[in-house]
């Protein structure tokens, strides 16, 4: 049996809008992935600790509060500290175009904006997990 792709879908920060995260979780499930969903209002510390224990291949971060510039890079740098820098991190939410280059520089592999097809996200994960 091929190894299942394991993805953590997490919502850092304080907004409670998790419809998008749930839709993505469901789409990844239907694509045959094992998705761990940890609910809303998670700190980067909690997200990274969970990712390490679960040994996930990828983390999807969803943030609609505007705090992505702080929270997403924090997750990436903490993963590196824990020796889990090989985990593929992608993000989504209400994120202004001008913020995307900075997030990518910080190690977030891809940002998916509203209107993205779930197929694109699935393809991205399948093509990029190590």
């Amino acid at each position: 049996m091929a190894k299942k792709i394991k993805v953590l879908v997490a919502k850092p920060g304080l907004d409670g809008h998790d419809r998008g995260a749930k839709v993505v979780s469901r789409a990844l499930r239907d694509a045959g992935m094992e998705v761990i969903y940890t609910g809303i209002r998670q700190t980067p510390e909690q997200i990274v600790a969970t990712a390490v224990q679960e040994d996930v291949d990828s983390i999807g971060l969803s943030c609609l509060s505007g705090a992505h510039n702080k929270l997403f890079p924090k997750v990436v740098s903490m993963l590196k500290e824990k020796g889990a820098g090989d985990v593929l991190v992608f993000g989504g939410g209400i994120i202004p175009d001008e913020d995307i280059p900075g997030l990518k520089d910080a190690g977030v592999s891809e940002i998916f904006l509203p209107g993205t097809s779930t197929e694109d996200t699935i393809e991205f994960i399948k093509n990029n997990v190590k």
Binding site: M1, S25, D30, G32, E34, Y37, T38, T50
Partner: protein, 312 residues
């Protein structure tokens, strides 16, 4: 591999997590890994938590973890959720209720998907228990998938099995049925602040009055979301363990567990070798065409593997 084993035995989180991945996915090195740690297992208390979907198993598990941590015990948790029979994917959501422990070094939580394994557990659950055990966890909690009536594998593994019930799921005939209701060492009537909880409590007690055997399950009322009744439940769990030990049943339970582990690997091994034969598809076709019976099919496959069915 050396680093992994050393890290695991010294309780390093990342080593443990990586080792679990090896075991869960039957990756190369699994056998060696288990061989090296097997003698270091058997120290943890194995607690099973089972019950129907939505009964509050995850919330109850969360509160039990908190209680054990107050007593200074380290805890490993395996939370099992179902895989889709169609896509093979899964949403593993038990952890949502347990995230207050995410930053506690004394708690390690791992989610597992059933991957179409029946019985309420994931296929390699027992091996993952061994790893958590070898890493030095004092108590290991296995939360099963939401069970219906017949997913009772947990009882062969856990020292104490808690069956979580909630009011409103059925009448006293449901309580009297075989299966899940029979495997409880301890009952938790959760959501005990709701209508029907007292009735459920007395129905379970009436059912237990008819149980023969030395050790009768205790029943506890809990309201897990409000942290009500958890102290009593945890005391009841360990009291059960002590009663088992005092009655000399421990050895029987351990032998039962060892046998179920052996069986699982036997079945897997025979299945894998049989289905791997090129003859396999041919045999399936001939059965479908009514040329041979399924029992004849087994004999043909076995003789190809150099085994006999042992029948005349």
């Amino acid at each position: 591999m050396e680093d992994l084993i050393e890290g695991l035995l010294s309780g390093k989180v990342r080593s443990l997590a990586k080792a679990i991945t090896v075991v869960e996915n039957d990756q190369p090195g699994k056998r060696e890994l288990l061989k090296r740690i097997y003698s270091k297992t058997g120290n943890a208390y194995l607690l099973g938590i089972t019950g129907p979907p939505g009964a509050g198993k995850s919330t109850l598990t969360d509160k039990v973890i908190a209680n054990l941590r107050k007593q200074g015990k380290t805890v490993g948790v395996i939370a099992v959720d179902p895989s889709s029979p169609f896509s093979g994917g899964a949403i593993l959501g038990d952890r949502i209720r347990m995230q207050q422990h995410a930053l506690d070094d004394g708690v390690f939580i791992r989610s597992m998907a059933t991957r179409s394994h029946l019985g309420g557990l994931a296929k390699n659950t027992v091996d993952v228990i061994h790893l958590l055990d070898a890493s030095g966890k004092d108590v290991i909690i296995v939360e099963t998938v939401g069970v219906g009536q017949d997913e009772v594998d947990i009882v062969r593994i856990a020292q104490t099995t808690v069956v979580v019930m909630v009011p409103g799921l059925g009448d006293s005939v449901q309580i009297a049925k075989a299966g899940v209701m029979e495997i409880a060492d301890v009952f938790a009537v959760n959501k005990a602040d709701r209508d029907g909880a007292d009735k459920l409590f007395s129905e379970i007690r009436a059912m237990l009055d008819m149980v023969k055997g030395d050790i009768k399950p205790d029943i506890f009322r809990t309201v897990a979301v409000d942290d009500v009744g958890i102290d009593e439940l945890v005391q009841g769990i360990f009291a059960h363990g002590e009663r088992v030990a005092a009655s000399g049943l421990t050895e029987k339970k351990l032998a039962q567990k060892a046998e179920s582990e052996l069986r699982a690997y036997l079945v897997d091994n025979i299945m894998e070798r049989s289905t791997g034969l090129t003859l396999y598809d041919e045999v399936v076709k001939r059965i479908a065409a009514k040329e041979i019976t399924p029992m004849d099919g087994v004999e043909e496959l076995f003789s190809c593997l150099g085994m006999t069915t042992g029948e005349n």
